[in-house]
Point group: C2
Chain length 370, copies 2
Amino acid sequence: MTRFELVHTDRGTGARAGILHTPHGPVETPAFMPVGTHGTVRGLTPEEVRGAGAQIVLANTFHLMLRPGIDLIAEAGGLHRFMHWNGPILTDSGGYQVFSLAHLRRVSDDGVTFRSPIEGREIHLTPERVVEIETQLGADVIMPLDVCLGFPAAPAAAEEAERRTALWAQRSLAAHRRSDQALFGIVQGGFDADTRRRAAEDVAVLGFPGYAIGGLSVGEPRTLTYELAGIVAERLPRGLPRYLMGVGVPPSSIEAVRRGVDMFDCVLPTRVGRTGVALTADGRVNLHNAAHAADLTPLEEDCPCPACRGYTRAYLRHLFKAGEMLGPRLVSLHNVTFMARLAAAMRAAILEDRFAAWSAAALARYQTAW
Amino acid sequence: MTRFELVHTDRGTGARAGILHTPHGPVETPAFMPVGTHGTVRGLTPEEVRGAGAQIVLANTFHLMLRPGIDLIAEAGGLHRFMHWNGPILTDSGGYQVFSLAHLRRVSDDGVTFRSPIEGREIHLTPERVVEIETQLGADVIMPLDVCLGFPAAPAAAEEAERRTALWAQRSLAAHRRSDQALFGIVQGGFDADTRRRAAEDVAVLGFPGYAIGGLSVGEPRTLTYELAGIVAERLPRGLPRYLMGVGVPPSSIEAVRRGVDMFDCVLPTRVGRTGVALTADGRVNLHNAAHAADLTPLEEDCPCPACRGYTRAYLRHLFKAGEMLGPRLVSLHNVTFMARLAAAMRAAILEDRFAAWSAAALARYQTAW
């Protein structure tokens, strides 16, 4: 019930415009996916997330499994109902989180064993168990358990991660039954171009309805991120969606889309928004700077979001200085709106075959290093 | 331009229904006024505050003077525009805050001198200066500088506070020029009934368009709060609005309205809401309690607020357990809605001369000690 429609590929670049059709509605791509780790996009209601132009949200299997627990969410009627979001949802498998844990105990071909960072109890996850949990959560797109490495990964570790991720991908596919969910494959493989190429081919032959590029944006130079994302993207089936995991600051999004990526997620827009840093077409704006103390203009003149329509930079800065919760709310809302508008602008440029010129201008205007 | 219309007095009690007409719209009384100390009702947008049924918000002159500063707000077009709330606003004078300061330096008949708790610089406030600041802020109802005491106040101190508050009231009235603002008088006088009676009469003769009862709910027994509020209320002009300052938990609101109070404010609904405590007709509900862990019902079945319409107690509890900002937002919104609905229910009972029975039932049902 979830399928991708490739609408157009930009003539001058590899950038694509498409539609991911899901049981909870369509997602026009390129799409930015706000992250709602615990079943809530930090500080925002689902209505606000939708109003900001976001079409699909991420949630995290690992975190939801630990708290509040999968049985409760299943009893509540699934994650859509539990979190009061009736649009498409993508659940991450938790592979990234498991491999980030200090108390990761053992990894074998069977799965991973770790201690819960909340209660300390030992938990064993297999690819099959992750699929079972995600089936209960009921997201539209689900990710299989994968092996994640940090940068730099030793060649042997990268090979091992690639092999194990491919093995787990097969087992996940075999375990998956729910026809209204799309299980995507994940391409891992560290930071070597040849390993990544082979990983893409190994996973692509398994016949997933969509593919994710994982294990990037974990500390490597940005140019390497783009290069590897491009190498993987061009080896994935043309008619299927490509999701670059965890990459999504404005310039990286543009670079990724240029190389054929359709979907991306990032915690940054809400994470920096909470601290008083706003995304604008000219780069990041830190509201704590004294320059904004008496600035009676909005964050962005042409932005339709509630923060820009109702409030000045001086007022938003005041909220942060006074420790008022409305500040993090409004700037998070602006930042999600900014990313959704950025994705929509990319789509418009692709549909008119002017992505090369559009992206060059957008990158030149964005003044903040990423 | 601000005037009070007394619509009806309940036949069995002293409870009144009225309308406070202001340049920014009418306020039906009894009215609960949410507190927006820094020019924002904690965690909520003005649209949400309005949607919750609140008709007027409080802001604090003292805090806004210290940060972000009055000149900025004046330059932004006044407090309504600065905080993006186009309904009525009442500004507190800051007397309560000044007298709560650790670094209060001197009080004389001229005024008060204290050190800014933010920058440490010495600030001198006179009744005239406070009126001038409130004129710049532009609220619809403004309060004069007054002398606040804690409980128990020595008789001599209470007499002195009463005398100085009356003196400052006269000077405030003389300094006030802006015809679209209503300057209310404040009745102080400690915890002695005779002093309070005299204070009410001394301030009432000055001819304010409305009166506040200050210096209560500062540690004294609740029965004394109600008794003194009632004694003062019955000595104030019948046709003018009566505002009981800082009193507003559900049972106190009901007791105050029964004794002829028209307006009340309290930080409690948002303060406890932020910590996960919800107000309901049955009393407070602490979402941290394990009893709510798998409760798939809303906070209140009959409440129209977004928190009750979209989310279960289990989900709200999950938000607090996970430290997610949406929890404080939603429960604050529910609590403000609860207080606005409580005020509306009181008004309906008054208009039908059934306040005695209604209030007895409401107090019996509310199971939490106040």
